[in-house]
């Protein structure tokens, strides 16, 4: 029983990190109608950039690592949007072109990592070592730090979306792009900022999860697929659905990993996705999956 609760706590913590990763993906689609298949590679890049700063070429403090890496991720995202996505918006087959271009970009970025850092796995050290006993449960500091950091980012994100002018304009574009143009919101700028934020969140997820999984140049794909499953299960474009699905699948991952081994996690996730879609074809909170 005790072990089970510890697993549950791990599950919730993974869940919130997955939320950070998946929310960026869903945001990108909700606001800019972009299915970003290079998302996994940004995850990898976040982790490797952190590795360069914290392990490989200097021994920076984690706080500094975040302060340096996150803005880089943001501008990387903006650049990708401006250079690759924006020109495609004129095309009739926008969706299709974006999928292909981001797939190509993903392979490019992954292999850039491979060329620079080699194929051997790397690992980030834990932020904090040791563990704490709370009411009889043993919880590692690392887990607590992860949880707190992810929670802070999630709260900041929600406040940003709810209160700031930029956040509001992002929601406006997602809800009614024409309405947004009518009030004078420059669409392309909002698309770019959204892409940047999405990349930033993904990179943050990469840094947070790197100590838990080993880093490899193509490791990001697992997380892209995880984000995909979370997002489909939660309902594409829905923040709330993403939140619930993240926790649900995070807990499932922890339990399955504990009982059967990590190899079984993906098959189980797919099973859950399948069951969700059987009941609700548009995902938990989705409304627009069906053809109109």
């Amino acid at each position: 029983m005790r072990e089970f609760i510890e697993v549950l706590i791990t599950g919730i913590t993974i869940g919130i990190v997955y939320f950070l990763v998946a929310v960026g993906f869903t945001l990108c689609y909700g606001v800019g109608r972009v299915l970003n298949y290079s998302y996994g590679s940004f995850f990898t890049w976040g982790a490797y950039l952190a590795w360069v700063l914290a392990v490989g070429y200097s021994k920076l403090n984690y706080v500094l690592v975040f302060v340096i890496v996150l803005p880089i991720m943001f501008f990387l995202g903006v650049a990708v949007d401006q250079v690759l996505i924006r020109p495609l918006r004129k095309r009739p087959e926008f969706d299709f072109s974006v999928i292909l271009v981001t797939l190509g970009l993903a392979v490019f970025l992954d292999n850039l990592v491979l060329v620079i850092f080699g194929a051997r796995t790397k690992s980030l050290p834990e932020f904090l070592t040791g563990s704490v006993k709370l009411g009889g449960f043993t919880i590692s500091w690392q887990l607590i730090a992860m949880f707190i950091f992810a929670l802070v980012v999630a709260v900041v994100l929600f406040v940003f979306m709810a209160r700031t002018r930029t956040g509001m304009s992002m929601r406006a574009v997602a809800q009614d792009p024409t309405g947004a143009r009518i009030v004078g919101i420059p669409l392309f700028r909002v698309f770019a900022v959204t892409f940047g934020i999405s990349t930033l969140l993904c990179g943050a997820g990469g840094i947070l999860l790197a100590p838990r999984f080993f880093m490899t140049p193509t490791g990001g794909w697992t997380f892209l697929v995880k984000a995909l499953i979370i997002v489909i299960a939660g309902g594409l474009g829905s923040l709330r659905g993403t939140l619930y699905a993240s926790f649900m699948l995070g807990i499932i991952e922890a339990i399955v990993g504990w009982k059967l081994g990590l190899l079984w996690v993906m098959p189980f996730w797919f099973l859950v996705l399948f069951l969700v879609l059987l009941v609700k074809p548009a995902g938990l909170f989705g409304a627009t999956a069906r053809k109109g």
């Binding site: 509001m168 024409t178 309405g179 009518i182 009030v183 004078g184 919101i185």
Partner: protein, 235 residues
């Protein structure tokens, strides 16, 4: 203030408006009437930068503005109040209004304009915390107009403000539009049917199948056979 010269606009290859020219002088309320599907909304969208004209010139305060992106036009003070409203459904009334003041010049005057909107539509103040999708048709129309006013507009393009409203609300909305004109705004208004607003307009255009069928002062227009021909197909 606004001059439109010989514009043509297409949906794909479907020519929605043919060679239309019109003028709105400062402080005027100009109305365009015509049955649905005759290119009225397209005309307003083209003026407000949501669509690009295939040819022709649009001048605002002497500057050529055709082809400029819509956010630039909003900053210049050209604001569309769409017939489809295009509110942000998941946001509150207050958030919708605040987004109305997105353009830079409008931000400075946000609280002042908000005050004005609330005096004009006191109902909106009581609804401030409700989400836009829960509003009734009349309330949503008020919000759409209110949001337009938040943009610190000099020129309003109003698309069928009476659409879907009960007669009593319709009159109310028209009166408010006239009040805005009297405060010095220039307004270009589009309606499917001539109604009370016709008498209050300074100048009238009748649109038939994307072309101007008649234009003139209010008295001339309303006693013309053109009305019967355009609207009822009989003479």
């Amino acid at each position: 203030m606004l001059e439109v010269e010989n514009i043509n606009a297409f949906y794909g290859e479907y020519q929605a408006i043919h060679d239309i020219s019109l003028k709105v002088a400062e402080g005027q309320l100009v109305s365009i009437f015509g049955p649905n599907g005759h290119g009225k909304s397209t005309l307003l969208k083209t003026i407000c930068g949501l669509m690009k004209p295939a040819s022709g010139v649009i001048r605002f305060d002497g500057h050529e503005i055709q082809g400029l992106p819509s956010h630039k036009l909003v900053e210049m003070g050209i604001v569309l109040i769409s017939e489809e409203r295009h509110l942000f459904p998941e946001m509150t009334v207050m958030e919708n209004l605040r987004l109305g003041a997105y353009a830079k010049p409008a931000r400075k005057k946000e609280s002042e304009n908000l005050e004005f909107v609330f005096t004009m539509f006191p109902k909106l103040k009581t609804l401030a915390k409700k989400r836009a999708l829960s509003l009734s048709g009349g309330e949503a129309r008020m919000l759409a107009i209110g949001r337009g006013l938040m943009s610190n507009a000099k020129f309003l393009a109003v698309d069928e403000p009476s659409f879907g409203l009960a007669p009593i609300l319709r009159v109310q909305v028209f009166e408010q539009i006239v009040a805005l004109r009297d405060r010095g705004l220039s307004i270009l208004l589009v309606e499917q049917t001539t109604g009370d607003i016709a008498e209050m307009s300074d100048y009238i255009y009748l649109l038939e199948d994307g072309r101007i069928a008649f234009s003139g002062s209010t008295d001339q227009a309303l006693h013309d056979d053109a009305v019967r021909k355009v609207f009822l197909g009989i003479t």
